[in-house]
């Protein structure tokens, strides 16, 4: 049981992904929550975010039969890169430092997996750097997914309407489109 459920330290995760991650150094807020300590656990190359109570129970389930616990945050690819999954959206969205709002017309397009164009951009947080991880919202402040800013905020103002401003990384449409690959 022990080798497969390894504790992932914050340091390990913040290697390549935390700067790209929209929440930066706010991981500590996720770990020490008022209703108990939460931790990240690795199970079959996926990282799960669970409370310690839940973890204790999950240890008695045989390793091969355990499918998921708590919330899956993402997985490690074969080349050990960490890919954040959309299932982490609810937890990361409140801590997001850089946000992008999308107009209602191109909301559907983003949910289909397309990038966000300048014509669909509603608002963007000030001084977003280029290639910064962002959380994409709809105009009604409903989180839609994650992305990477293709242009900094200043550049966004100058660029033409058909240019891409946010690269798509994960969106809630995946719950329907790729249900099988979530686990």
């Amino acid at each position: 049981m022990a080798p497969s459920l390894r504790a992932c330290s914050s340091a390990g995760r913040s290697g390549s992904s935390s700067e790209k991650m929209a929440i930066g150094e706010n991981i500590q807020l996720l770990v020490d929550r008022p209703d108990g300590t939460y931790c990240f656990r690795l199970h079959r190359d996926r990282v799960y975010y669970v409370s310690e109570k839940l973890l204790k129970v999950a240890t008695s389930v045989p390793r091969d039969s355990l499918v998921a616990l708590g919330t899956c945050f993402g997985k490690f690819t074969k080349t050990q890169k960490f890919r954040l999954s959309v299932t982490a959206l609810d937890f990361l969205a409140p801590y997001a430092k850089y946000k992008v709002w999308v107009k209602p017309g191109s909301e559907q397009s983003f949910l289909y997996g397309n990038h966000v164009l300048k014509s669909g951009l509603g608002r963007i947080t000030e001084n977003t750097a280029q290639y910064q991880g962002v959380v994409v919202y709809s105009m009604a402040d409903v989180p839609l997914g994650f992305g990477v800013a293709a242009k900094s905020t200043q550049d966004c103002r100058k660029v033409d309407p058909m240019a891409i401003v946010v690269f798509h990384q994960a969106d809630v449409g995946e719950y329907v489109r790729s249900e099988d690959t979530l686990t």
Binding site: L54, V57, S60, V61, S65, A68, G70, L144, Y175
Partner: protein, 678 residues
């Protein structure tokens, strides 16, 4: 400042917006009404007939005199509303107007006939007048009952409009008479008989009477052979089913001589199997459960899908807000009913319900109405440990999580790894954080992990309650399938019961539910559990639904099965379902022999839950020795204790005085007295 509403003063309203757009019933009626007997006179409505009768009556009396001369003649009284309604005030026998306008104020009836004769297009005007007249009539006689000129009150038997009579005639022409139709026709016949002036219709109705009385005959063997050779004629089969049901309802009277009830039933089964495409086996089972008229309703209900329902995810939104958001997207919906605070029923929608941004954000879950019921019966509390043994696709699990507000722990288990993917997806989408998903066989359960507060077992079943979703069930299930399901369900329910901790402060409940309506999978399994384990049935908390059977054919079940609930598609408009709620009152497992008393003691509270609970039979001996205070003790253990204590006493008594080794109490006292003396 505003206009005050004066209820006594009725506002007169003109023809509505749509009155002009319709070409009028006369145009439609002209197409298929029989030609008039008298070509000169048009067929009048009830209203028209009354006025005609009045006119005749007035014409018979002496003409009115004393009209004031010199009243200005005005043209086109068509558009004018009659100024005075003085019918009530008139002396008997006089017509509508008694003022001096009689010269120019002709009865609208004459004009109306004229207009109808001229062109059909004026019928809209005629309708306007009609409506005006009707209003006036109401105002005239609104206080009293509308009395027909023939003496019959209009509030009695419905008078058939010409279109209704034509419809009746069409029905009789078609020839297929059902029970209901014949009843309606009988009522209609009585109504028509009461009205005079419609005698030409009665002959048609009498003919209908003769058709109904025709005897339903079982087809002869030659007919059956012919039918099997030809392609099925569903219409004939449908008629035969109806006729057969009629006979069976009233068998003593309507039977054919020399034919048994079994033959009628066999024919009915064959016909229903052909018409609704069921296997004979399944029909036999259904006929045992339902009485005949209800059976037809059940079969009909299975042909139609149930309404789409969704459940609001209260972890992320409220029902009111979700309803508002969906209505803005163009969805037509309604709250599900008084019994549910989170359900919504979708009537129709311009966007796909399974793909709205609200769905993707996890604000609701597509779920059948009947699936809400077992979780409501389970009533999970916050900070409990719950096991959902057969959780796919995760609707009930997520409902449990939302009722617990993401506290406590849910173990969501399913034996099918592929269906578990949808469980994980749904749980993540809906924001459930207190769930652990596992892929074990449900029968392994207390071994894997036990000591739960509540267990929900939505057992795999034959699916006879959800035929409307999956019509393949009609033909694919047979005796072996149902018995196999029942066997699996019995094993699962025992595992479920063993996984619950009876001594839990807030829990100790097991809910067993299936989406099937057969007795083998429902009442039989529940009865089996009652016999094999220390559980009893309790009320489910659902105040609607049919009670479960306490006896069925030759089997007799425990009377407490009345607290279980059955739901049917034709009575409740939700999928067929069965729900039973157990309370476990002891953790011990009763032995198989009947003469041994089942252990009544409650177990001491289990240690910290993460240790695996040992099989219950071994624990019994341990429990016997450590007896906690305030718990019931069985007779045998009490006796053991007393005998133990009796042995202990002499040792204790011996301590104060080493000389005294007798076990009896009086000697002890004696020894003390001796001591005191000394």
């Amino acid at each position: 400042m505003g206009r005050k509403l004066d209820p006594a003063r009725k506002e007169k309203r003109g023809p509505g917006r749509k009155a002009r757009k319709q070409r009028g019933a006369e145009v439609e009626l002209a197409r298929f009404l029989p030609p008039e007997a008298e070509p000169g006179r048009r067929k009048l409505s009830s209203h028209g007939r009354r006025r005609a009768a009045k006119r005749r009556r007035v014409a018979g009396e002496e003409p009115r005199g004393g009209r004031q001369p010199g009243v200005k003649e005005q043209v086109s009284p068509l558009k004018k509303i009659l100024p005075q309604k003085v019918v009530a005030q008139l002396p008997r026998g006089q017509s509508g107007f008694s003022d001096g306008n009689s010269k120019w104020l002709t009865p609208v009836k004459a004009k109306k006939i004229q207009s109808e004769d001229n062109n059909v297009e004026l019928s809209s005007d005629g309708e306007e007048e009609e409506s005006i007249w009707e209003m006036e009539e109401e105002e005239d006689g609104s206080s009293e009952e509308m009395v027909d000129d023939y003496g019959a009150s209009s509030s009695e038997e419905e008078e058939l409009l010409p279109i209704e009579k034509a419809a009746l005639k069409q029905k009789s022409d078609r020839g297929g008479l059902s029970e209901d139709d014949s009843e309606e026709e009988e009522v209609a016949e009585e109504a028509s008989r009461q009205k005079k002036g419609q005698k030409e219709e009665e002959s048609v109705d009498l003919q209908l009477n003769l058709d109904v009385d025709e005897q339903f005959r079982l087809p002869t063997d030659e007919q059956i052979e012919k039918e099997t050779a030809e392609p099925l004629d569903l219409h004939i089969i449908h008629q035969r089913i109806k006729g057969n049901m009629e006979v069976l309802q009233n068998f003593g009277v309507k039977r054919e001589e020399g034919r048994t009830r079994q033959e009628y039933l066999a024919l009915l089964r064959r016909d229903m199997a052909a018409y609704y495409s069921y296997s004979d086996f399944l029909l036999k089972k259904l006929m045992d459960i339902f009485p005949l008229p209800e059976l037809i309703n059940f079969l009909e209900a299975n042909e139609v899908p149930r309404p789409v329902t969704i459940r609001t995810n209260t972890l992320k939104t409220r029902r009111r807000d979700l309803a508002q958001a969906l209505i803005n997207r163009g969805v037509n919906l309604d709250p599900l009913g008084k019994w549910s605070k989170t359900g919504l029923v979708i009537y129709d929608s311009s966007v796909p319900i399974g793909a709205t941004p609200e769905y993707l954000a996890g604000h609701y879950m597509l779920q059948g109405a009947s699936s809400l019921l077992p979780v409501m019966a389970l009533a999970p509390q916050e900070n409990e440990r719950i096991l959902d043994m057969c959780c796919a696709p995760g609707g009930k699990t997520s409902y449990i999580a939302q009722l617990m507000k993401n506290t406590g722990m849910i173990l969501a288990n399913d034996s099918n790894a592929e269906r578990l993917r949808s469980v994980v997806g749904n749980l993540h989408r809906l924001g459930v954080t207190n769930a652990v998903v596992s892929n074990c066989d449900g029968r392994q359960f207390p071994k894997v992990l036990g000591g739960f507060d509540r267990v929900l077992l939505d057992a795999p079943c034959s699916g006879t309650g959800v035929i409307s979703k999956d019509p393949a069930v009609k033909t694919s299930k047979d005796e072996k399938d149902i018995l196999r399901c029942a066997h699996l369900q019995k094993e699962l329910i025992l595992s479920a019961i063993d996984s619950v901790n009876a001594a839990s402060e807030t829990g100790g409940y097991i809910v067993y539910c299936t989406c099937s309506i057969t007795v083998e999978e429902n009442e039989w399994v529940v009865d089996y559990a009652l016999k094999k384990r220390n559980v009893r049935l309790v009320a489910t908390g659902l105040n609607f639904g049919k009670e479960g059977f306490t006896r069925f054919k030759d089997r007799r079940f425990h009377p407490s099965l009345k607290s279980t609930r059955r739901f049917y598609p034709h009575t409740h408009n939700m999928d067929g379902f069965f729900i039973a709620k157990f309370k476990k009152f002891s953790n011990a497992i009763p032995k198989a022999q009947k003469d041994e008393e089942p252990a009544v003691e409650a177990a001491s509270p289990l240690p910290v839950p993460d240790t695996i609970v040992e099989p219950q039979s071994k624990k019994k001996k341990l429990e016997g020795s450590k007896v906690a205070k305030g718990q019931k003790k069985p007779q045998s253990a009490l006796k053991k204790r007393r005998s133990l204590q009796a042995q202990h006493r002499p040792v204790k008594a011996g301590r104060p005085s080493p000389r005294m080794l007798c076990a009896r109490v009086p000697t002890r006292k004696k020894s003390r007295m001796n001591q005191n003396e000394q």
